[in-house]
């Protein structure tokens, strides 16, 4: 009897297969990677002419959008992706099947989260690449450590919040509604879809309270030509991290492996022959 594989090795196996599954699900790949790209091209064609000042000084709108949508892609790949995927896996009985194997639950979750993070990284690299090539975005090497740290804190926090959302939604059918209802309205007041110049005070306060705007603006600051290197926005990152910790606590406390009684999907029933 050989010893069981190490948790690190098992996490790598999980990550490899989760990525495989992600790429073989065209809808997921479209919404997380292609959609931000389409939005970038579209927003720039529509509003990309001028410049904008969202607090750090004037910079071209097209560069603003590059940073905004790169950050948003990272959030889609983690928060939205996990909040949608995990309840489906749960209702189809796939989580329950995994629970019956010797794979430690933490390794399974780590594999899922790592998948989201890798997809987020791809999204950010692609969008920033397009920004550099097509929209004169200049990446300042001195601010790249801050960009990287902001990315890491952001994806970790939003992945944790995605797992928390997955843990509390009753079933897979309500998951997309909850995930979108939580993230899309925020995107409008968080410097993602529209630059906010002098928003009303209360809107500013709401945006600052929820984690999306602190993350997006912290990330944008690392790309902004007028910020001083190293451009770490520690305050906002700390706030995002706090949300992440809250998300992690909720997911650990509320995570379920069993399909919800009312949420069993047609696919699950399909496995027993129709009567």
């Amino acid at each position: 009897m050989s010893p069981r594989a190490s948790n690190v090795a098992l996490t790598v196996v999980q990550l490899r297969y989760q990525l495989k599954i992600f790429w073989r699900t065209p809808v997921a790949a479209f919404f997380t990677l292609v959609l931000p790209l389409v939005m970038l091209v579209l927003f720039n064609a529509l509003f990309g002419g001028g410049s904008v000042d969202t607090g750090q000084g004037e910079w071209p709108v097209r560069q603003f959008y590059t940073g905004a949508l790169a950050a948003f892609a990272a959030v889609s790949a983690t928060y939205t992706n996990l909040a949608n995927t995990v309840p489906i896996l749960r209702d189809e009985g796939i989580l329950k099947r995994w629970r019956g194997t010797p794979l430690p639950p933490s390794v399974y979750v780590a594999g899922m989260v790592a998948m989201g993070v890798v997809v987020a990284l791809i999204g950010v690299v692609v969008l920033l690449g397009i920004g550099v090539v097509a929209y004169d975005l200049e990446l300042d090497a001195a601010k790249m450590p801050a960009a990287f740290v902001t990315f890491v804190v952001g994806v970790a926090a939003f992945a944790a919040m995605g797992m928390a959302c997955a843990a509390v939604v009753p079933n897979a059918r309500s998951a997309p509604a909850v995930a979108n209802a939580t993230i899309l309205p925020l995107a409008f007041i968080s410097n993602v879809f529209t630059p906010l110049e002098d928003p009303p005070g209360w809107l500013d306060a709401v945006g600052d309270f929820f984690p999306l705007k602190p993350f997006v603006t912290a990330f944008q600051d690392t790309l902004h030509p007028l910020t001083d290197a190293p451009a770490f926005a520690w305050g906002r990152l700390g706030w995002v991290a706090l949300w992440g910790v809250a998300g992690a606590i909720v997911s650990v406390k509320k995570f379920r492996w069993e399909p919800s009684a009312e949420g069993a999907s047609p696919r699950r029933r399909r496995r027993t022959p129709a009567s």
Binding site: R4, A5, E92, I94, K96, P102, R269, T272
Partner: protein
């Protein structure tokens, strides 16, 4: 030596008592079949043993461990085929076996396992491309990929065509020969009769009867006479003789077969009808089962309609 020990197991879902004081011991290398009508509590018992559900009260031990508290070391030694659960559709059959098998210390070769369940030629196909019965065979493959010491099979052959069922019987017989302890539930009496060393019938959350198939069948000492009459024959005279007439099929359960046969053949001669397909046999497991299960005022079990969520 008992590998599975259950003592006074009780499980309540809110008001409903699904399992009501079940006690059971299953020995090493034994194949034990749990029978019972829909909703009798079979899956509940099995899933408590698998560590999927907690129990309200009672003692449970498998391989010396409490499944309610056990972790990876326990799951490394057991194999599970749930009554219904999904697989990642996007993976190929071989990939599914590879990723699900990765965490076992004694993992079998995935191709070998696919050979055993008759899916070797589908190894490269996506799970979603397989038929329902073929997907069920993947469930079976995933149940044995870790070379389990104890295997739990919750209606493993539901949806199988007859030859796939025979093949899985061979597979299970092979596992028995290797010393695997197997707890299976089924609605197919021929399956229980073929596979099980012992059978337990659970009705309304309680064990109604337990024993080897032969013991159960012999318990009554009765004999069953069966035959068919021609279409349109007047069967009125059969009922007073204790016969049950269903269309042209007649069966008669009796403790005095010589006398009964004499009466039946006399009736046939008087009527001028032939008794086609005449057999005299002891009651099948199904006869015994139906008597137990039906007397509990449950709707009679429908072998081809396993649990769907609708009946909860």
């Amino acid at each position: 030596m008992p590998v599975i020990e259950i003592a006074n197991l009780v499980k309540r879902y809110g008001e409903l008592t699904a399992v009501n004081g079940v006690s059971l011991e299953i020995n090493e290398g034994e194949v034990f079949a749990l029978l019972g009508p829909n909703g009798a509590g079979k899956s509940t018992v099995v899933e408590i043993l698998e560590g999927h559900r907690d129990r309200t009260s009672g003692d449970v031990s498998v391989l010396g461990l409490d499944p309610g508290k056990a972790g990876a070391e326990y799951r490394d030694q057991i194999g599970i085929v749930l009554q219904s659960s999904g697989i990642e559709d996007e993976l190929s059959v071989l990939e599914a076996l590879d990723v699900y098998g990765a965490s076992y210390s004694t993992r079998r070769d995935p191709m070998e396992v696919l050979e055993l369940v008759g899916l070797a030629d589908r190894a490269q196909d996506r799970v979603s491309q397989l038929s329902g019965g073929q997907q069920r065979r993947i469930d079976l493959a995933l149940g044995i990929i870790g070379t389990p010491k104890v295997l739990f099979l919750d209606e493993p052959t539901t949806g199988f065509d007859p030859s796939a069922r025979r093949q899985s019987w061979e597979l299970i017989d092979g596992l028995r020969d290797l010393g695997t302890t197997i707890l299976l539930t089924t609605h197919y009496m021929d399956e229980a009769q073929h596979l099980a060393d012992r059978v337990g019938v659970i009705v309304g959350g309680e064990i109604a009867v337990i024993g080897t198939p032969a013991e159960l069948m012999d318990a009554t000492g009765d004999t069953v006479v069966r035959f068919q009459v021609p279409h349109g024959a007047n069967t009125d005279g059969l009922r007073p003789l204790g016969a049950v007439v269903e269309g042209i099929a007649v069966s008669c359960r009796t403790a005095t077969p010589t006398k009964t046969l004499h009466e039946l053949t006399s009736w046939a001669l008087a009527q001028g009808v032939e008794l086609f397909d005449l057999t005299v046999s002891r009651p099948s497991l199904e006869d015994v089962y139906l008597q137990l299960a039906v007397s509990d005022a449950q709707p009679s079990p429908a072998p081809d309609m396993p649990e769907t969520r609708g009946q909860q």
